[in-house]
């Protein structure tokens, strides 16, 4: 048996035929970064913040996300606003600390924070890993998050 295979080189032919078949079929990899992969809906990338229809921020500053975050990546400052409402003065997520567990999204009672699709976090300045509220809101304005 073994001898026949050796003589006829059937393994080689099998392998080659596979190569040839794939050579003429459509590629499965993407030409990143020219082309982007369609991320699954529940992909957990860098967080985004959402607004209400009228443009007001959804986040009410309850601090639950900061509390639940296992790596203490979220820091926020809040205060009393002009109409005695709660105002979020600053909201910073340190993406260097974040472990992308998605707890913040899970805990948010008002659907303000979501894990976004952004995964390109390679930077040269580590300070840039601290993302501010404004940056996250801008990301959240992207139409691809309209479903949220």
């Amino acid at each position: 048996m073994g001898l026949m295979t050796n003589i006829l080189q059937t393994d080689l032919i099998k392998g080659l035929s596979l190569t040839i078949r794939y050579f003429f079929s459509k590629p499965v990899t993407l030409r990143y970064p020219e082309v982007y992969y369609d991320l699954p809906e529940r992909f957990r990338g860098a967080q985004i913040l959402k607004r209400h229809e009228d443009g007001k921020e959804r986040c009410v500053g309850c601090g639950l996300c900061a509390e639940i975050c296992p790596s203490r990546a979220i820091a926020m400052e809040t205060s009393e606003g002009e109409d005695h409402e709660k105002v979020v003065n600053s909201y910073v997520i340190d993406l260097g600390l974040c472990i992308y567990c998605g707890y913040c999204q899970e805990v948010c009672p008002v659907d303000a924070v979501f894990m976004g699709q952004d995964f390109e976090l390679t930077i040269t300045d580590p300070g840039k890993l601290k993302v501010t509220k404004e940056q996250m809101l801008t990301k959240g304005d992207n139409p691809r998050y309209d479903r949220l």
Binding site: G61, E67, E80
Partner: protein, 893 residues
């Protein structure tokens, strides 16, 4: 009577007066409640505490149900559980579900109980009740929709604070809680309602929306604002103190606080805090520098001046807000390193006036009794003191006594918050307090109301009788603006009470001849036999936080630590031995004398730790000139005060929240205060600065590792602090004298020390009367006919709380209070500007009419910049500078 009952199958014996709720908690069985709160009457309003009792058909409220022998109670049946679930469901019909932004979230009883006993669904589908609301005060926030009508705030305001600023109006679902007619809140801002509210209906605006409750850590400390010494809890996050909370059931205050203690914390993380040492450079500008170079600068100059011009040319004044450890090291530094006995504290004047009299007459150097005694006093005489301001929490104890039926008589130049509650409030003009006290003595002698034991010991009271003979009661009554009846009744009540005490304050002592009033007061106590027993004693009360500690630590020109006289060779030797250094022999100068010596060019270097003379010392412009003349001025402060701006070196110190140490309160209680946050920037605790400076001067004996080490040394130097250390003070502190082996009296839980001085009464050599011959301490001069009382407001403490934004919301400006009658006489209107002129100086201030102040008297708070009281106060040695009373002329501006 003890009764036996069974709760959840477990038996317990309890006192027959308690209710089922307390009995259950003794067994460790927790019954959920809303409207019940320790120290408040029970109302049975919330019906959360329902339990099943055998033989009673309906469920019963445990908080109002008295225990009965043989009672069988169940707290864990399905029926009880169902009742709880339903009560919560009812409450949640209207309670908004805004936990996400509610500041009470995380410590809300409704939230907790809903989690534990509530159901996740509601069966009520209607709309929630929405009540219109408005801001009722700058510091206390009310949210009507969250209110569950438990009435705790209303009860605490009435039953503990005695203010009754809150009430309930309307009925049923429309019930609202708030101030009278729902106007803005006009109250003492004691914060009790914030503490009491089990939900987020009443909250503090000072921390509104700034932080969530669970983010903060808590640390217990002692309040820095008055000599009461309340225990409070600093709540902090990321080295910022976000609020103060009541340490429930802790301390002599049982958790209660006043406005200063609760809202005054914002000075701690104030943006204007000095965070680095500063030294004046060649251009005359204060520049930031390192600790090392700043300390070297101080060491070099202080040592040089002390060497060249002698220790007498160097002086130091430390605030009585500092801890015992700070103060002890301060005087050690001044005495041992800079060879000067010129050490004092602003409250030294009080100590030097009061303590010699106490010593001479009773052989004690502090209040004889505990503040807790005030709770149970039957008759109380308050002379020259607004206790609700000087010591607000002691004031609460007096209010409790009144609720228990205690008869309180106030003798004060104006009305106070107590006047409304007290038996009587006698508006006696300043200077006539003596006449009133002598009047009381006269009545007691004439009616034979004195104590028979005292009579037995003294034989007769002829001297005392002689001293009160030359005036009739009618004359006394006329002079003191009281009626004969008021005087006789007060005397009878005081003499007849089983427990009677006297509180004695600044307005009476810090006037010319104030000692005489104190002498007469002690005569009165001795005559009626109200000394040396529980509930009977004398409380000299000054508001300065650690004034007692400053005296004990020897921050005084003529007393070493432990009240030892500088002039005594043996005492000096003893201290020198302990320090392994030298103590100068000659007595030093008092604070005001130092300033005068500075003006005369005799004092060249001055070290000010935590004091701002320009705000609080007498002298006005003269004072400023004297300070500017100083060759070398060091100011150790939290803020760049007016005085600090004149300094050659400014050293950044920490607040009480940033250091460990002990404070001694007005009842001799030594308490430990603990650090909550790290010192801001490069600031250091005062004791550390003194220690480092001592070392920089080459004195290794000033080297300490921590404040606990300093306390160990204090315990070895101050006899009545022996046996005290930081560990033993962990719980509620202890009252000196204390030594671990003897004099130890344990009372209450965890309270140590000596509760009452003089348990044996006065010693033989003290058994005499002063029999003060005169009738008045002083009278106004015709050029300066008005008597101005310089005093405190409830909302501030010295000039330090000027930096508290919150307290400034309550009071930020001084106005000159005068009776409308006085105003009419002077032809000045309410709200008009006047010039107040004294022999020393003058300034312009706005008049405010107030019926609370007696005609002919004026009152001015001494906290604010707009009324620089320093300009009016007359500097001088102790017997001249009496800073509570100034005679002025008021002229229309």
């Amino acid at each position: 009577m003890m009764v036996r009952l069974t709760i959840d199958g477990r038996q317990i014996m309890v006192d027959g007066h308690v209710n089922v709720l307390d009995a259950a908690s003794k067994l460790g069985i927790h019954i959920p409640t809303f409207c019940h709160q320790a120290r408040l009457s029970d109302l049975g309003a919330c019906r959360m505490c329902l339990v099943e009792v055998e033989g009673m058909g309906k469920l019963q409220t445990a908080c109002t149900l008295a225990v009965n022998d043989g009672m069988v109670v169940r707290t864990d049946t399905p029926r009880v559980e169902k009742a709880r679930r339903m009560m919560l469901e009812f409450l949640l019909i209207n309670h908004p579900l805004e936990c996400t932004v509610c500041d009470a979230s995380g410590e809300c009883t409704l939230q907790d109980l809903a989690f534990k006993h509530g159901s996740a669904e509601t069966r009520f589908k209607g709309k929630k009740r929405i009540l219109r609301d408005h801001i009722i005060s700058p510091l206390i926030d009310r949210n009507l929709n969250r209110c569950i009508q438990c009435k705790r705030c209303v009860r605490v305001c009435e039953e503990i604070q005695g203010v009754t600023a809150l009430g309930m109006s309307y009925r049923g679902a429309a019930t609202v809680v708030g101030p009278f007619m729902d106007k803005s809140l006009d109250c003492e801002y004691c914060s009790h309602c914030i503490w009491s509210c089990p939900v987020g209906a009443i909250t503090s605006r000072a921390m509104k929306h700034k932080v969530r409750t669970w983010e903060m850590e808590k640390s217990e400390a002692i309040c820095p604002y008055c000599s009461c010494g309340c225990t409070l809890s600093y709540n902090y996050r990321d080295n910022v103190v976000y609020r103060v909370t009541h340490a429930e059931g802790r301390g002599l205050n049982m958790g209660s606080l006043c406005s200063k203690g609760f809202f005054g914390y914002d000075v701690i993380n104030h943006p204007d805090r000095i965070t680095a040492p500063m030294v004046r450079d060649a251009d005359g500008v204060l520049r930031r520098t390192t600790w090392q170079s700043a300390l070297e600068e101080v060491a070099r100059n202080m040592k040089r001046i002390s060497r060249e011009s002698g220790g007498k040319a160097v002086g130091g004044i430390a605030s009585d807000r500092l801890t015992n450890e700070d103060l002890y090291l301060f005087q050690k530094l001044m005495r041992m390193v800079f060879s000067s006995n010129n050490v004092d504290t602003p409250s030294g004047l009080w100590s030097r006036t009061v303590v010699p009299v106490l010593e001479k007459r009773m052989g004690v150097r502090a209040a004889t009794n505990s503040l807790d005694d005030l709770n149970y006093t039957d008759a109380l005489l308050i002379v020259g003191c607004d206790i609700t301001v000087a010591n607000p929490i002691s004031g609460l104890k007096v209010k409790q006594a009144i609720r228990r039926g205690g008869l309180v008589t106030e003798v004060n130049p104006g009305k106070t918050a107590l006047s409304r509650l007290a038996r009587r409030s006698l508006a006696v003009p300043v200077g006539k307090e003596l006449a009133l006290v002598k009047g009381l003595i006269k009545v007691i002698l004439e009616e034979g109301l004195y104590d028979s034991e005292t009579l037995g010991k003294y034989g007769k009271f002829s001297e005392l009788e002689f001293s009160v003979r030359d005036k009739s009661l009618k004359e006394i009554a006329r002079e003191t603006d009281c009626s004969v009846d008021e005087i006789t009744q007060t005397a009878r009540e005081f003499a007849g009470a089983k427990k009677a005490s006297i509180i004695f304050g600044e307005t009476a002592v810090l006037q010319a001849g104030g000692e005489k009033v104190l002498e007469a007061v002690i005569d009165l106590l001795v005559l009626t036999g109200k000394l040396g027993q529980e509930g009977c004693g004398l409380y000299p009360i000054l508001s300065g936080t650690n004034f007692q500690g400053a005296l004990d630590m020897g921050v005084s020109p003529n007393w070493l630590p432990g009240h030892a006289a500088v002039s005594s060779d043996s005492e000096r030797k003893r201290v020198e031995k302990a320090w392994n250094g030298k103590v100068p022999k000659d007595g030093g100068k008092s604070a005001y004398e130092m300033i005068q010596a500075a003006a005369a060019g005799k004092l060249k270097a001055l070290y000010l730790a935590g004091v701002n003379p320009l705000a609080t010392f007498p002298g006005g412009e003269d004072l400023e000139k004297a300070l500017k003349k100083m060759e070398f001025l060091v100011v150790q402060e939290l803020f760049l005060t007016d005085t600090a701006k004149l300094a050659d070196v400014v050293l950044p110190a920490t607040s009480l929240a940033e250091k460990n140490g002990t404070l001694t309160n007005v009842e001799r209680r030594v308490q430990k205060t603990s650090k909550a946050i790290d010192g801001l920037g490069h600031s250091l605790p005062d004791w550390k600065i003194f220690s480092d400076l001592g070392v920089a001067c080459g004195e290794e004996g000033m080297n300490y590792l921590n404040s606990s080490e300093v306390m160990d040394e204090i315990a070895s130097v101050v006899p009545f602090y022996s046996g005290i250390n930081h560990q033993i003070l962990a719980d509620n502190g202890l009252q000196w004298p204390f030594s671990r082996d003897d004099a130890r009296e344990v009372y209450h839980e965890g309270y140590l020390g000596t509760r009452h001085l003089l348990p044996e009464g006065l010693s033989k050599d003290k058994q005499f009367f002063a029999a003060v011959p005169v009738w008045e301490t002083h009278s106004a001069d015709s050029k300066y006919p008005m008597t101005l009382v310089l005093g405190d407001l409830l909302f501030h403490s010295g000039s330090f709380t000027r930096y508290s934004e919150s307290l400034n919301q309550l009071a930020a400006q001084a106005t000159l209070l005068m009776n409308p009658q006085t105003g009419m006489g002077l032809d000045v209107q309410d709200g008009s500007s006047v010039r107040a002129v004294s022999t020393q100086g003058e300034f312009t201030v706005t008049v405010s009419y107030s019926e609370d102040i007696a005609p002919g008297m004026l009152f001015l708070p001494r906290h604010f910049k707009n009324a620089p009281v320093s300009a009016l106060m007359i500097p001088g040695p102790d017997d001249q500078a009496r800073t509570a009373i100034v005679h002025v002329r008021v002229v229309k501006a």
